[in-house]
Amino acid sequence: MPLHAEIDRDLCASTGECVLLAPQAFALSDDDGLAIVLPGLADLDAAELLQVARNCPTNAIRVLDAEGGVLHETG
């Protein structure tokens, strides 16, 4: 089942932890240094993606399932 991730740009502090854990799925924007989601997100399974989201120091990654249900909330 495809998962989605969204970055809360107000919360993101550009720590880069998501990039360290899953460089295929996240990068930091050249424009403002904030996290962005890459197409490689599809390569992560739910457990891997949730671990990245839970590891984010500012809890800035929202994880959604294919129906839009929230698996991990920001804030």
Binding site: A13, G33, L50, Q51, R54
Partner: protein, 422 residues
């Protein structure tokens, strides 16, 4: 010995102490709670005023966005895989002759070379200067933890201020001059904190003045080096008795760096360098099941939260680096904080989270952290506390997990230094 936060002299009677993991985590993620404690008591005339770790809200986020690029992947790999092994070899090599060391001093020496590089403190390459910087680390650490000082807080403030001014003259002035000249000439300046701050000095949003830059650089030099040295001690003091239970454990520790990293994370969970994190409520808010009123002080009892049996199991207060931990919680508990103020150097110090199962594949980009490499070096040389000179707790602070000295004897002599520059 267990901290009783309510015994602290600076503790108001209505302070809320949080001991459950969920409450503590909730507090650390609550953006209505700040680290801005009483300014005249803790910040003014000290290393802490307006540094990254005490800013709040948008000011904090903007400063963190400025400074976070210092901890990107390329730097972490460079430090862990290239520079630090050489530092360990050269610094340890100096112990070759007598095989004795104070682990707090040694840990600072090992850590301060790279913390100076990150901060932007130029060195002349001599070992004497590394020793001098390690002394500043110990001095500034007293200022950073001033709210938990036992005894004369004003004396600490005076000493720290004197050290700051000496540091400005001895190190910051020449480091700054070199970067300003490079920036003015349009040349490439070193990629470090000082360059970042000087480049952003005209950005009014950030409010960077000369004294603030001094304090921020001093904190970068000190914070990571001090806490890393303390964590090396706490890891060794807990790992040795655990390994002594069975020779097979020693064998695995010598062969499996991931197990050493698990020991570091487990030691951090049980002995965080700050057992009582403070937060100040900026407005009325709610933390877990608690109503909190504006102005109220909260104490997060890190050790109680990290040993919450509902999260870490019924044996949560015993040292077991191989324990199973729920996937959604870190093995190190809340020892690096959490939320906006989580430690900026966490991955550099402790690496990335270890796989849940020992048999899981380790990704190529795994980082073990510099503390893991230091502990590994101690184990490789069979370092043990000197039975005739036991570790001395740092009684100058209520942060009882800290040590003032930890004399060790190395059964295996390190190779002599090669003289390669570090």
């Amino acid at each position: 010995m267990r901290i009783d936060p309510m015994q602290q002299s600076t503790m108001p009677s209505d302070a809320l102490v949080l001991r459950r993991y969920d409450d503590a985590r909730s507090a650390l993620h609550n953006r209505d709670l700040s680290r801005q404690l009483d300014r005249s008591t803790f910040a003014e005339g000290n290393t802490r005023e307006r540094i990254l770790s005490v800013l709040h809200g948008r000011d904090h986020r903007d400063r963190r966005r400025l400074e976070n690029p210092l901890f990107r992947t390329d730097r972490l790999f460079l430090y862990e895989r290239e520079l630090f092994p050489r530092i360990v070899r050269e610094v340890m090599g100096r112990l070759a002759s007598d095989r004795r060391a104070d682990l707090y001093h040694l840990g600072r020496l090992l850590s301060v070379v790279l913390s100076a590089k990150t901060a932007g403190v130029d060195r002349d390459g001599t070992f004497e200067e590394i020793e001098e910087l390690a002394d500043y680390v110990a001095e500034f650490a007293q200022g950073t933890a001033i709210e938990d000082t036992v005894g004369d807080r004003e004396a600490v403030r005076r000493r720290v201020l004197t050290a700051l001014e000496r540091f400005r003259e001895r190190f910051l002035a020449r480091s700054r001059r070199r970067r300003e000249e490079l920036l003015e000439a349009g040349a490439e300046a070193p990629n470090d904190l000082l360059t970042l701050l000087l480049s952003a000095k005209d950005d009014d949003r950030l409010g960077l003045d000369d004294d603030m830059i001094l304090r921020e650089v001093a904190n970068y030099l000190s914070a990571g080096a001090h806490t890393s040295a303390q964590t090396v001690i706490n890891t060794l003091l807990q790992t040795i008795p655990w390994a002594d239970v069975a020779p097979a454990r020693w064998q695995r520790l010598r062969e499996d760096r991931l197990l050493v990293q698990r020991c570091v994370h487990e030691a951090l969970r049980l002995r965080p360098t700050n057992p009582g994190l403070r937060r100040h409520a900026e407005v009325d808010t709610r933390v877990g099941g608690h109503e909190v009123t504006a102005g109220q002080l909260l104490i997060i009892d890190t050790i109680a939260a990290n040993t919450d049996a509902e999260v870490y199991g019924l044996d949560a207060d015993t040292f077991d680096p191989e324990r199973a931990v729920p996937r959604e919680v870190p093995r190190w508990g809340l020892s690096f904080g959490a939320g906006m103020h989580s430690c900026i150097g966490r991955t550099l110090a402790a690496g990335l989270p270890v796989p849940d199962e020992a048999g899981d594949d380790l990704p190529d980009n795994h980082l073990y952290g510099l503390v893991t490499l230091m502990v590994e070096a101690m184990l490789r040389h069979d370092a043990r506390p000197d039975p005739d000179d036991p570790p001395e707790p740092d009684t100058r602070t209520v942060r009882w997990t800290r040590w003032r000295r930890c004399p060790v004897i190395l059964a295996q002599a390190p190779a002599p230094p090669t003289g390669e520059p570090i």
